[in-house]
């Protein structure tokens, strides 16, 4: 990155890079705050925006719901089988189910859901925002006295968050059901002990970390591509702001995951 800036001395290049980096993160934080304010203000759900919101909610979530659920079910089945068979061969079968739930429901599925929503919805939405901005739609909206963030960006962010949470919730439920079926088969005999074990895994702190993680995943996935689409880098030598946004999104996801792991296991 630094080598791409010709004619500048090293301190200037480092300064430029640091400034760009700080500005990009600041924009994400700023946009996050703006979106939060807009989400909480009732005027954002007026008659005009409600329809756009409903449309984005539906179109971002419904088409991917079935595909992702099937994918999650398949992953759950395979992982459950592997863990149960391995645990059985080591004589640790009573820990197998707990491990499946911890690995699948607590860790893997929220992350997978977030990545899936990012790939399927929010990154394309970020590109749309970029195109809208580039084609002058934002200026036109401003000329009409409307706020482009509220009209175009807010529904997409809310839809991204919603898709992420829905996908994660549904896949977790499906994974829980499949883990039960994979271990006990089609009968209800193991349901009391399964429920008890579920209650033991989901202690209040783990539940809170899980909920916060899912929400932050969805926020990161929904916000960062939008921020990358909404703002240009302001630097003519850096046209690839989408990729930068993607990298930042992955970095944030990684940080949230690490923080959740630390919260759960330290």
């Amino acid at each position: 990155m630094i080598s791409r800036l010709p004619g500048l001395s090293l301190p200037e290049r480092v300064w430029n890079t640091a400034r760009r980096w700080a500005v990009a993160w600041w924009r994400i934080l700023y946009l996050g705050a703006v979106v939060l304010v807009l989400v909480l203000s009732p005027s954002s759900y007026g008659k005009g925006t409600r329809r756009a919101l409903a449309r984005h909610l539906y179109l971002d979530t419904a088409p991917v719901l079935l595909g992702f659920t099937v994918l999650a079910a398949l992953i759950s089945l395979v992982l459950t089988r592997i863990v149960v068979v391995t645990a059985l061969s080591y004589g640790l079968s009573r820990y197998a189910l707990e491990m499946v739930i911890r690995v699948l429901v607590l860790e893997l599925i929220p992350l997978t859901a977030a990545l899936f929503v990012a790939m399927r919805c929010t990154i394309p939405n970020g590109s749309q925002i970029t195109r809208l901005r580039q084609t002058g739609r934002f200026d036109a909206l401003r000329a009409h006295g409307s706020d482009p963030v509220r009209i175009e960006l807010l529904p997409r962010v809310i839809a991204g968050v919603f898709a992420c949470i829905t996908l994660a919730a549904l896949s977790c439920v499906v994974a829980l059901v499949l883990a039960y079926l994979g271990v006990y088969g089609f009968n209800l005999a193991g349901l009391p002990s399964y429920t008890r074990m579920f209650g033991q895994v989901f202690t209040p702190s783990v539940t809170m970390v899980f909920a916060l993680k899912t929400v932050f995943f969805s926020l990161a996935v929904a916000l960062i591509p939008m921020a990358a689409g909404l703002y240009d880098t302001g630097d003519r030598t850096q046209p690839d702001s989408e990729l930068g946004g993607l990298a930042r999104m992955f970095a944030v996801l990684l940080m949230i995951e690490v923080a959740s792991l630390m919260g759960n296991y330290y």
């Binding site: 539906y58 580039q134 002058g136 200026d139 949470i165 439920v173 202690t203």
Partner: protein, 345 residues
Amino acid sequence: MNDENHNARQTPTPGPAPASPATDVPPVETLRPVAYLEIKAAALLLFTLALIVGSGLYLLYARGAFEPTQTLVLTADDSEGVVVGMDMTFSGFPIGRVRRIELAETGNARIIVDVPRKDAHWLRESSVFTLVRGIVGGTNIRAYTGMLNDKLLPDGAVRPVLRGDATAEIPQLMASARELLSNLNALTAQDAALASSLTNVQALTERLNGPGGMLGVLMGNEADGKKIVATLDRTNALLARLDGMAARADKQVFGAEGSKEALVPEVRATVAQLNGLLADTRTSLKKVDAVLVEAQAIGANAREATTDLGALRAEVESNLRKVESLVNEINRKWPFARDTELKLP
């Protein structure tokens, strides 16, 4: 927002954007109408809401939020390994859950266990609680009830918990192992009793293999060993002589084949003679027997004769009495009868 203005100035340059930004720009995406959009969106929202609320309710149920419980306080001197949320089992079935662990003022750990009311009947006044920590796996709190007829455990009962700790014995085991190893070391040391014993055994085996062998070892020196050998030789000679004596005795008793001089044939002849003597005695006795039979017959006859003699004598006596009476009659009647009457003057 300054950047936005800056961006807005930049935007017209790329792409097929319209020349005048003031005019209405058609949106990039095609806004295809979705049938029943609002209903679908509401259904989706409701679905997600139901999913989350259902999961939350299931979680609350799984954590026993809807179950009436009673409290049991277990006191232990060490709560290591006990975690909040762990089970208390009875016969392998979970009947309680640890709600809180706290340090009592006495320094003991207080483990507060929630027992659902429907399972509380397994716990009685006489129930015993143990805290078992395995080497592998977690700690277990177990309840044992010997008398199920006892009174029910009241709510808020405080019971001591017995510790059965597999790992607690490890230090003791290590101490024993260390002692054992030091003993082994002492045994196997260069100047230890075992080493000297082994040296002695080696010397012994060398002497065993050497001249004199076992006898030398047993007797201590070679001379005594030789005495033993000489004793054995003399014993052999003695045995040979005894053998000859036995042969001679044999010959005297049983004699050579066909000879009549030995003891046994003579005895045999004597026995034959005795047999003959006995046969003669038997015939003599038979004759005596016959004589006795005859004597018996004579005796019988004599007895009969004696009986007849008695009758005869009675008859003779009666006849004599008759004759006497007849004579008396004649005497009285007869004129020549003498006057027997005495006439007094």
